[in-house]
Amino acid sequence: MSLEKDDVEKIAHLARLSIDDADVPGYVENLSNILRLVEQMAGVDTDDVVPMAHPIEASQRLREDEVTEVDQRERFQRLAPAVENGLYLVPKVIE
């Protein structure tokens, strides 16, 4: 599998990553090489194999539905680039 410039630009958009134009050819080459490595899997017959999602086949643990955390909004929001009145600020979305 070889990717083209357009493919890399589309993937970068899906991943919400800005990529400098000058870096695109490098990504085209690197990502194509990685996909070629990965495609060694294609030759293996896995028709009857159950996919393994997790190394220890455990079911999701559930707990009682009760409050275990205290409100630390102010503490956590001190880490944010921009907040106002307890809200995170982003550029205007709705005109």
């Binding site: 958009h13 400098d20 990502l31 294609a42 996919p51 550029p91 979305v93």
Partner: protein, 483 residues
């Protein structure tokens, strides 16, 4: 003093031959004097360390100390540390002061250990050479022109250079064992779920696991004892008793069956490294163990499967870095999409972006079955290989890496060649098994690591097997010369 093991330091502290403040200050001075040579620390927490050391001395005086109380250690900068920058070696988190402690950090602090600082690493633990760090590469203490391995390269180099008696690391595809091998130290990746991942910044959640990086197996046993155990805050933590890891260290290896996978001794293995591994296996035979040739037929597929599964999980985990709630935000965003794209584009380094894009592609519509599901099926085959092998043998041994430490810059232009340096470690993560690397000798002055792989939750057995070897060899006591 810098050659003392954790148990020797513990004895000295309890006998009041040295105080924790004196010991901590000595290590801080040593980091100040030599730390820049290897660039193994991102942050040194001088004041906090001395506060913790004073508290440890009080505990010792009051007779309330445990075996690790007062002993310094360093944490990989992937573990959240309350009030201390936790960067994951990324520009994205350069300004991130963690608001809570990881469970591993909390448990080791509760044991009375003193944090010297946070060690350098590959950005978001993505790399095998510590060259993807935003804070610059770590240099191997055995040869400053060579890499220490990665991603826990700062932890490995700091332990090797005697800048800390012990460190924590994490291992997603070999990130404890490979740098331990290349720096000549002892590193243990426990069974998936044995050590809590809470507060450990996520890379690939079905593979990530934390473990000790030390100078001996006995030290690793001491540290793992304090790290391991059930944590309700990690949904994949295993609720299972933690054995006494030191209790079985002295067990005899007579009759131990060691499996040697032929795929780990093929043409990809450097001949000089192979000779060191063979000599280590001879030592095990002299200790009464028996070696058995085995096969892990699908192990060649571990790197391809890993480079679908790990990037897929990474692309999902790293979607949280959006420039809104914490971390890096770009200057003057035009709109919300520009804010996301430029914050992420400027905040992440090239390797992280590559992996996010590979994962995004593998999980995108039309490709999911061909890549992600296929990789999970291969993962099942790899895991089944190990299950079959452990019906025959007690432990598996082989090289931890195909060769000794490579030169800085040697593989940075070719990600695939970098990925292949983890060819002997990745399968263990895919299966979720415990694995270790211990020093087994040198090639041209560079350390070689012997890898030990055990069955699920067989950490005590691995530590026993490693300790017995370290009783009859001194490779683990060799120290790099001070430049």
């Amino acid at each position: 003093m810098f050659e003392k093991t954790l148990s020797e330091l513990s004895q000295a502290l309890h006998a009041k031959k040295i105080s924790s403040v004196e010991l901590t200050q000595a290590y801080l001075d040593r980091i100040e004097r030599l730390g820049e040579q290897s660039n193994s620390f991102i942050t040194v927490t001088v004041e906090q360390a001395l506060v913790q050391a004073r508290a440890a001395d009080q505990r010792i005086a009051a007779g309330e100390a445990g075996p690790l109380t007062g002993i310094p250690l360093a944490h990989k900068d992937i573990f959240c540390t309350d009030g201390v920058r936790t960067s994951c070696a990324s520009r994205m988190l350069d300004n991130f002061i963690a608001p809570y402690d990881a469970t591993v950090v909390e448990r080791l602090a509760a044991a009375g250990m003193v944090m010297l600082g946070k060690t350098n690493m590959d950005e978001f633990a993505m790399g095998s050479s510590n060259e993807t760090s935003y804070y610059g590469p770590v240099r191997n203490p055995w040869d400053p022109e060579r890499v220490p391995g990665g991603s826990s390269g700062g932890s490995a180099a700091a332990v090797a250079a005697r800048l800390t008696p012990a460190a924590t690391g994490t291992d997603t595809g070999g990130s404890i064992r490979q740098p331990a091998a290349l720096c000549g130290i002892t590193g243990l990746k426990p069974t998936y779920g044995r050590v809590s991942r809470y507060g450990m910044i996520a890379f690939a959640s079905s593979l990530d696991q934390a473990g000790p990086m030390t100078r001996s197996a006995e030290d690793a046993a001491l540290l793992l004892q304090a790290m391991a155990g059930f944590d309700p805050r990690d949904s994949t933590s295993i609720d299972r008793p933690v054995p006494d890891y030191r209790a079985s260290l002295e067990h005899s290896l007579a009759g131990l069956k060691i499996g040697l996978p032929r795929e780990y001794f093929d043409q990809g293995l450097d001949a000089a490294t192979a000779a060191v591994i063979e000599a280590a296996l001879d030592q095990y035979r002299r200790l009464g163990a028996e070696t058995v040739d085995i096969s892990l037929p699908n192990s060649g597929l571990s790197v391809p499967a890993y480079y679908v599964i790990a990037p897929s999980e990474c692309s999902s985990n790293l979607s949280r870095y959006d420039g809104v709630r914490f971390g890096y935000r770009c200057e003057a965003p035009r709109d919300l999409e520009d804010l996301y794209k430029r914050s992420r584009g400027e905040g992440f380094g090239a390797e992280v972006k590559r992996r996010i894009m590979v994962g995004t592609y593998a999980l995108s519509a039309g490709y999911y079955d061909a890549y992600y599901i296929k990789a999970q099926k291969i993962r099942q085959l790899i895991s089944a290989d190990f299950r079959r092998a452990f019906e025959q043998v007690d432990v598996i041994m082989g090289p931890a890496t195909p060769s000794t430490a490579f030169r800085l810059g040697e593989k940075t232009d070719d990600p695939v060649s970098m990925y292949l340096s983890d060819i002997y470690t990745i399968a263990v993560n895919l299966a979720g098994l415990p694995g270790m690397s211990i020093p087994a000798g040198f090639v041209d002055g560079l350390p070689v690591g012997l890898q030990l792989i055990g069955g699920y939750f067989q950490e005590a057995r691995l530590l026993n097997v490693a300790h017995q070897y370290q009783q009859v060899t001194d490779w683990h006591r060799r120290a790099p010369g001070e430049a």
